[in-house]
Structure formats: C-alpha cells, structure tokens
C-alpha cells in the first residue's frame, strides 16, 4: 500500500530543474507581436492631448492604442475586484505615477520600447495627494472626479461592539494606545505579470496565456468586460513564477494585449518590466492604524479597539470578498479571549497605484495580526511583564474551541499554549532572556520577539464569500482510467506550492494509489472545472477538501463495482489497505486499479449504476479554517549604526494535518523571509508630490540569503474538525506571523533606550533614530 500523505519529492521539479518550465514569457506563437505600455510620469495630471502619429509611423509598429481607441470598444474602464472601476488606458486624467496611458504593438519587444518614446503626451500637472492622512482634508485634491466624487472617501467599515468596548475601556485598570503603520509593500514575485493574447477572427475564440492565480475568474471577467461569450474564451495559466496575490487582479496590460490581438489579428505578448510591476500592480497593506488595548494590571487583556486609515490608491483594486471591504481584518481580536472588541476602517483614495490586498495577506490578516501582536508587546512594555508570559496568560484555551471571537469569527480548533510552549522550548527562551540581561549589562543589544497568530483561511462559504458575485466554492473532477491510473482536474492554480504533487497525494491517500499514478491537471479553463483560484491560502482548505471528497465519491462508486465483481452486497465490503474486501476475508480484496478495469468492462452493474469510475464535486466550505502558530525571533542590534542582524528564528506552525511536511516547511520558510523583508527593508514610499520611491529592486529591497538565518521549524497538529482531511492551509501563515516577531524583537532590543515602538521598515536609519527618540514616518520621503 503506497502512502499518500507524507514527505514526498515533487513531481513538477523534473521540468523546472532542467529549465523546461513554461512561463508566460516562454510562450511563442507564430506571428506573435509584442506590446509595451506608455505610462504617466505624473502622479496626477489632466491629459491635454496624445499624439501617436510618429509612433504609428515606426516601421515595426502594428498598432497604437489609446484610451480613446478603447473607449470606442467600451473598454477604457474595467471593473476592479472591489467593485470600483479602473482605467485601462487613461482618457481624462492620470491618477498615479505609472498609470497606463497608451499601448504599442510592434514586431519585437525592443521596437515596442522605442516606439513608446515616439508618443507625445501633453499633460497638465495637478496637485497630488500622496499622504493618506491628508486625503480627507477639505482642500485635498480629488482623485476620483470620474465618479463625481467631491472627496477621497471610499468607505467606512466597522466590526465588533463599539459600546461594549467603550465600557470596558472606561472600566479597565490599564489602557495603552499606539499608532502604527503597516507600510505599503509589494509581493514582487520574481516573474513579473504578463500575457499572450491570441484572438482568432476565424473561430471567434480568445486564448490567453497569462500570469493568473485565478484562471476561471479571469475568464468570466474577460467575458463580461470584453463582451465575448465565455465559452469562446480560454485562459491558460502555465507555470507561474510566484504569485503571492500579485497575480490575482486583471491588469490594464492584459486587456490592452487582448485588444491588440483583436485589432491586429495576431497574437500579442505583453510582459511588464520590474518597475511596472512595482509601480502599477497590486500593492499590499498601507494601513495606518491606531491600536488600543484595555487590560487589568495583572496582565489580563480585556479589549482591543482599532481605528484604521486604509490607503487604497487611485482605484480601489483590493481583491476582497464582496461583503468584506476590509477583508478579514476582523480577526484583529487575535489569539486571546477578549470581553470586547471594535474596529473602524476608513478607506481613502490617493494618487498612488491601486490595490491593497496582496502579498500573502490572507485578506488583511497580516495587518490584523501585526496590530494585535504589537499591542500585546506594548502592554508588556508598560506593565513590565515578559511578552511570552503575557501571551501565555491570555491565549485561548483548548477547551474554548470552537471559539467565536468578539467580531464573529469562529475559530475551529487549537491548542495554543502547547504551541507557544514548544516554540519557547525550541528557542531556549528562558536562557535567551538570561543571555539578554548579561549582554545588556555589557552594552550589547539583543532582542527577543514573540508573535502568536491566528489565521483565517480557505475562503469560503459561498453564502458569505464571493468575489464580484461569484461564490467561493471550488469544483474538482476525478477520473480513474481502465488501467488504474487517474487524472484529477482542479480549479486552483499553483505558483510554486506544489499542487501537482500534493493533490496527487490526497487522491493517493483516499484511493490507495501511488501519487505517481495520479496526474493533476490545472491551469487551463478548457480542461478544468470552475473555481476561484489560489490565494488566501485557500487551495488546501477548499480544493483540497473537494479532492478528498471527490476521491471518496470514486471510492464509494468503486465499492458498488467491487460488490458486483465479488457478487456481494456493497454493505458486506470494508475498505482496508487500499482495497475493498469482503469483511473478514482480506484475500478477497480488490484494488482501485482492478475495480477500474472492471468498471469499464462488460461486468454487469446494478440498475441505476453508471459505468466507469469518475466523479465530480463542488465544495462549498462550511467555514474558514484557522491555522495558527508561535514564532520567536532573536536579533542583535548595533546601536552605533542601527544595523539589525537576525540571529535566529523559531517558528512553530499548526496547520492541522500536513499532506506533505516537506512542502509545508518550504511554505513556512518563504513566509518567514517575507517577515524579515517587511520588518527591515521593504517599503514603497512616496514623496509629497506623489513620486514613487520604490520603483526598482535598487529601492524596493528584498532579503537575500545573507539576511535570512537558518530557520528552525516545529509543528503541532490540531486537525480542523470540519475539513475532510483535517488540513487547514499554510501558505500565508509565516508572512502573517513573522513581521510582528521581527519588529517585536528589534523593539525589545531597544528597551534600554525606552523605545516602545517604531514603524517598519526598521532600516538602520530608523533604528538609530528610534534610539534617539525620533523615529520617522516611513510612508513618506525621508527628509
């Protein structure tokens, strides 16, 4: 019997290590043309005129498309995933630096770039609003006059009980308050976004190869936006070089390429460069938060209150479920048992790139966890209680699960103290604190940061969760061939998470097959059932569940066939060791492979039973799942320079049952590196005029092998009670839990200087300034 779950090398590696992956830029079609986007240098300006004559005259240029061209096809604007609209190519105004203004289609990529310089755009610059905290000022420039708005307010959203929370705060012995920024950061996958669009005038079919984490959702949206019937659209998501949420939205360049293909009658490839990726595609975070915590003097946390100013950029492009304009920020209640909680989120437009939800944020849970975990440390600072001890006192207890928090989220399962204790043991926490005291006496700064997080992933129950009205349920399809191997067609879309292996393992586990005998098909909307794609750590909770269920359906159908083979009743059979056998007679057992052959054969089946061993399933999750974890970070800080060295990072994750521990660990490793990046160096800041200061990898800094320590991982397993295999999902956990661990560690190191907080990124300059008592705002240009 072949094991299903467990450590297994990845099937997909065979092509990747040979350089035989097929990423979008590897796709070459006969007659293919190349597109390039002309972008606005101004953050805010009226477009007076666009002169494309010289560009069109370039011998290699086949088409030049402007907003006017698209307006003629009703394509100048497109809906965003947040229900706003975004300009595909600007018509009246440009609203952020880097916004798309024109699109050139040429015979080769270099010529397309040359032709951009031949387009003459006359701009009338306007004052820009780059500081979110000024966006609601009476005299702030209005970004969205196209919607007839007279201000930059987008929405207000609240969660929790304001009155009860206020009462607890009035009553509490101790209250602490801290302003904190989660800066604008960017997922920056190594492969930028791109598309090859091929519209055939003969068949009327549009085929696109695109960097998309949600091919079916894109297909449906293209149908609605472009006006082609959906069955005439095929979206192929080939190998994707990292997504992290950056490849969820539809970008203007995609639609321009599609329009270009329709206009020229040839395939059009458009792949953005890195500056385009950083300056115009979906950023993440940009939450200005005020956190407050009410507690007793003995350290019992009683209530959390938060107000948030959310900067959404020029268009609200946040990819949220419809009913959650601020995503799942509601879990700011954290991993603690609270009497009350309340939050209010105010979202504003600014002259910056659109977005907000990306970078493994789990729909804003990164922000929520950062807020609460920083507040717990602020409370620990004020009460002079050890931060691990303070958490241990307040963590939810296992007997409290399933636990509905103050904002209505029902955490499914968890033994939190056990997980924190394991992290502390792995870290040698008590010894670290002793070492810290000794080092402090010598003037050396060591910091220990703790973070405990609860995630909510696996969106989600369709009644509550939809993207633009499409419920977040996933379809899956399993066929077992006559000779006993199988093909599984899934709707989710790996960007490195190893689905070709892990989903095969799920089927293998249920049916007693070898994972090598299960082919996983994904990424082609013509070949796979509908689903909402991969982001928000939802693949395992939703499609993984669907896969287990569809495999069980096949197994049940196999039972009936086996019963027919063995001439017994189906109830007389038991499933053991990968076979259906007559109870008490293991030698009678039939494997799925044997049953598959029989199911295709001339074996007589009972009335009403169809042949073959196929099944489909659409899984509507009953709830989200709640992975959690305890992280401990150890840093050394050089007070003379402010330089931070991450010495150790201990991460204990509980994501329920682990299909493939090797892959789970890899996911955690990657997310932990994100935490170092965001805590210490990643930032997209803007100057007062709206100029983007993070538009290249020289300015938007990513951690390298030298900034990352050798991660120390641990695991606890608390199965999800409602998931068919007890799995919870883990893709974003480390990105959620690690930034507060690193920040808490640095602030802890600066304790001798009385530093209570400083905003990310904690660059050497910021750390030194914090030591001087003068940390600076990191969302604006440093002055």
């Amino acid at each position: 019997m072949t094991a299903g779950f467990g450590r297994m090398l990845r099937k997909e590696d065979q092509r990747f290590v040979r350089g035989m992956g097929t990423y979008v830029d590897d796709v070459h079609l006969p007659g293919m043309l190349y597109g390039a986007v002309l972008r606005s240098p101004h953050p805010h300006a009226r477009i007076a005129s666009i002169d494309t004559v010289a560009a069109e005259a370039h011998p290699k240029v086949k088409a030049v498309i402007t907003g006017e061209t698209l307006a003629g096809r009703d394509l100048a604007w497109m809906p965003t995933l947040a229900g706003d609209r975004q300009a595909v190519l600007a018509t009246d105004k440009v609203r952020f630096q880097g916004q798309e203004v024109a699109f050139v289609v040429a015979e080769d990529h270099y010529a397309a770039r040359d032709a951009l310089e031949l387009i003459d755009v006359e701009y009338e610059p306007l004052p820009a609003v780059a500081d979110a905290r000024r966006a609601l000022d009476a005299d702030a420039p209005v970004v969205r006059d196209d919607l007839d708005l007279t201000g930059n307010h987008i929405f207000d959203w609240e969660s929790g009980d304001a009155e009860r929370t206020d009462r607890v705060f009035r009553d509490a012995e101790v209250t602490v308050s801290q302003d904190m920024l989660y800066p604008r950061v960017h997922p920056a996958p190594l492969e930028t976004c791109g598309i090859v669009a091929d519209f055939s005038k003969v068949s009327g079919k549009l085929t696109v190869w695109a960097t998309t984490q949600a091919p079916h959702a894109h297909r449906t949206l293209y149908s609605l936006v472009v006006g082609l019937p959906e069955h005439k659209i095929r979206v192929i998501s080939p190998d994707i070089g990292g997504g992290f949420g950056n490849k969820v939205p539809i970008y203007p360049g995609y639609l321009c390429a599609i329009a270009g293909s329709m206009i020229t009658g040839r395939p059009v490839k458009w792949v953005e460069d890195r500056s385009e990726n950083l300056m115009s595609t979906c950023f993440a975070r940009d939450f200005h938060m005020r956190g407050e915590l009410a507690a007793s003097r003995d350290g019992t946390i009683r209530a959390v209150r938060v107000t948030v100013l959310a900067d959404h950029g020029a268009f609200n492009g946040a990819a949220q479920p419809t009913k959650y304009p601020a995503g799942f920020f509601g879990v700011f209640t954290g991993s603690y048992d609270l009497e009350a909680a309340h939050c209010k989120v105010t979202a504003v437009y600014t002259n910056k790139a659109p977005g907000g939800v990306a970078y493994s944020c789990s729909f804003r849970i990164t922000e929520a966890v950062y807020l609460v975990e920083r507040m717990v440390d602020v409370l620990a600072f004020e009460l002079n209680i050890d931060p691990a001890e303070l958490r241990m006192r307040n963590l939810l207890r296992p007997e409290q699960f399933p636990y509905t928090c103050q904002t209505g989220w029902t955490y499914d399962s968890g033994d939190y103290p056990r997980t924190l204790r394991l992290a502390m043991d792995m870290a040698g926490y008590e010894d670290l604190r002793k070492e810290q005291a000794t080092e402090r006496a010598r003037g050396h700064l060591t910091g220990i940061g703790v973070s405990f997080f609860t995630e909510a992933v696996g969106a989600g129950p369709r009644k509550h969760m939809d993207i633009l009205g499409i419920g977040m349920a996933d379809g899956v399809e399993l066929r077992v061939h006559p000779t006993g191997t199988a093909v599984l067609r899934i709707s989710v879309q790996t960007q490195g998470q190893g689905h070709e292996t892990t989903f095969a393992q799920i089927v293998a586990e249920e049916l007693g097959l070898s994972p090598d005998d299960v082919e996983v098909v994904h990424g082609d909307t013509d070949q796979t059932p509908f689903g909402l794609g991969t982001y928000g750590s939802r693949s395992t909770p939703v499609s993984g569940a669907a896969t287990a269920i569809v495999a069980r359906k096949v197994r049940e159908r196999a039972r009936i066939v086996a019963a027919a083979m063995l001439e017994v009743d189906p109830e007389d059979l038991e499933w053991e060791g990968g076979r259906w056998s007559v109870k008490g007679d293991p030698d009678s057992g039939r494997t799925i492979a044997e049953i598959a052959w029989a199911a295709h054969s001339n074996l007589e089946l009972p009335d009403g039973v169809e042949g073959q061993l196929d099944a489909t399933c659409v899984y509507n999750p009953p709830n989200l799942t709640y992975p959690f974890g305890a992280y401990i970070c150890v840093v050394d800080v050089d007070p003379g320079t402010g330089k931070v060295d991450v010495r150790r990072f201990i991460a204990v994750d509980d994501c329920g049952v682990r299909i493939n521990p090797m892959i789970v660990e890899g996911q955690v490793h990657g997310g932990l590196a994100d935490g170092i990046g965001m805590a210490l160096m990643e930032n997209i800041a803007f100057d007062a005029d709206g100029n983007c200061l993070g538009g290249s990898f020289m300015d938007y800094l990513l951690p390298t092998s030298l900034e990352c320590p050798s991660w120390e991982l641990g695991a606890t397993v608390t199965p999800s009670p409602h998931h068919p295999i007890g799995a919870k999902g883990v893709g974003e956990s480390a990105t959620v839990g690690s930034p507060p661990a690193v920040v808490n560690a640095v602030i802890d190191a600066l304790r001798p200087y009385g530093v209570r907080h400083a905003d990310m990124p904690l660059t050497p300059a910021q750390v030194w300034r914090a030591i001087q008592g003068r940390p600076f705002r990191t969302d604006l240009a440093i002055s």
Partner: protein, 288 residues
C-alpha cells in the same frame, strides 16, 4: 525588461586601437558594463558607439613593483578581493570589495569602470582616495598621472578626456601601514548609506600619515582632509580617533534620501570613521 536604445559596437583589439576609437565622437568605453549597461537599459545613457575593451588582457593585472601596488584598470572586483598582494598590503581593499555589489557582479565589474563611473556612492573612490592612489591615464600621446584625489570632478564626471583611457591605478606601499573600511548599507549589496575608509601610517604610536575616505556623503574628492590634517603627527589614541571622526562628520555634505536622514548619515560618518581608524591602527601593529 527595459532595454537600451540603439547603439553601435566596436571591439578593441589593442590599447592603441581602443584609444583611436575613443577619440571619435560619442564613443564610450565598455568594460564590465555593469555600470553602463544598466544605465543604458534605463535610457539614462545613450552612447553612440560602445568600444568593448574586455579583450585587452594587458590592462588586467594586480602586481607590486617599485614600491607600488599597480592595479590594471581592467582588473575585476573579484580579482582585487582575491588578491593576496593587494589585500596583504592594504586590507582596506578586501574590506571594501567584500561589500561592493554582489559576488557575481564582482566577477565582471572592473576597478577602472567603477572609478570612471564616478558614482558619488562608489566605495572604491573613497578607498583609492584614502590610500592616496594615482590614476594613470593613457592617451594617444602617452600617459599622464592624476592623483585619485583630483580624478573626480563631480558626480559621474572625471578628468578623463575623449581619446583617453584609464589604464592603471598605482598605490604607494609604505611599511607600518594599516587600513580598514567600514560600510553601512540597508541590505547586502546596496549602495552605502555612508562608509569610511581609513589608512594610517604609524611610527611607533605616532600617526605619520592618515588617509580618510568617505563614501556617499559628498565629501570633497571623497576625502576627509581636515580630519586627516588633525591626525597627522598625533598619537594613535581612541580620543584622537573620536576627534578626527567628529571633524570628518562636520566637513561632509550628506543629503537626506531613502537611505537615511542627514543627521543619521552624519552620525554614521563619525561612527564609521572611528571604527575604521581603530581597525587601521590595530592592523598597523599599534599597541592595544
């Protein structure tokens, strides 16, 4: 990806050939290309003709003779980092090369290319200024020597004229010398927020000559001349290092940018100058 605009390409077969080509209008040296080609991709540089000198092996060497370290302009950063001759005489070279760019870029970027790029944040400019090196510039009429401290005219501007090529950098070798480089960057491979290189020549406990190079803080000619003047003739003590560092911090012109505010950069100049002096003194064999 961003790509260069049109350009023509010539490959030099000898130094003479290179010089003849460089005498023509709009011809530019292409060595490692790791400063020039990125600028061409961003279209900040749009030369007419590139003169590829990578084949001129006669310009790639690191050797010592006549009491001088002689570094051919085409020596790669990795060569300088690996050079026992250079590192033995001047550990400052190893300190600096270890933190210039990244290991792969260092295999291709050249010493000459970096100096000629004249980026205000170029580490080697401060290093060669600190060691009081001389640039040997070759033209069709022969060589001329320019102290590195006079080599840079301003950001991205040097004294090299059309038809000339930086051929070699010469560094005087003196006994009793210690040197060190201290750099702070936001991340491995990033340009300096600030950096300081120190070279001390000691006679017993007395500093007979000091060289202090500063990076990325608009120090004139990358040098902290006033701090050097202060140290000359004084004992190599912690107190004097601190004083020199303060003077160095006062006499540079750091500008706030995303790497840091001005006060932090000035502080770094003082802090890193002190550390560099301390290590340079230790390496010169100063008593603890």
């Amino acid at each position: 990806m961003q790509v260069p605009s049109h350009v023509e390409y010539e490959r030099a077969t000898s130094v003479e050939h290179a010089l003849a080509l460089l005498g023509r209008p709009d011809h530019r040296v292409l060595a490692g290309g790791h400063s020039l080609i990125p600028m061409m991709k961003l279209r900040l540089a749009q030369p007419g003709v590139l003169v590829d000198i990578n084949g001129l092996a006669e310009l790639a060497y690191i050797k010592e003779n006549g009491g001088q370290l002689r570094i051919g302009a085409l020596a790669r950063h990795a060569d300088l980092l690996d050079s026992k001759i250079a590192g033995g005489r001047y550990p400052i070279f190893h300190d600096a090369e270890r933190v210039v760019a990244d290991p792969i870029v260092r295999l291709w970027g050249t010493i000459g290319g970096s100096l000629c790029q004249a980026d205000p944040s170029e580490d080697l400019s401060a290093v060669f200024a600190a060691v009081r090196a001389t640039a040997v510039i070759r033209g069709q009429d022969g060589d001329r020597e320019v102290p590195v401290r006079e080599f840079h005219l301003g950001p991205y501007e040097t004294v090299i004229a059309p038809g000339e090529l930086l051929a070699e950098i010469r560094v005087p070798v003196q006994p009793g010398t210690g040197s060190a480089y201290e750099k702070v960057a936001r991340r491995v491979g990033d340009w300096s927020v600030a950096a300081a290189g120190a070279v001390l020549q000691l006679d017993g406990q007395t500093i007979t000559e000091a060289g202090i190079g500063l990076t990325a803080v608009a120090a004139e000619h990358f040098v902290a001349a006033e701090a050097e003047d202060y140290l000359r003739g004084k004992p190599a003590t912690e107190q004097n290092f601190g004083q020199a560092a303060t003077i160095a911090a006062e006499h540079c012109h750091p500008v706030a940018d995303q790497r840091g505010p001005e006060d932090y950069k000035r502080h770094l100049v003082a802090e890193l100058t002190t550390r560099a002096l301390r290590r340079a003194a230790a390496r010169a064999g100063a008593p603890a």
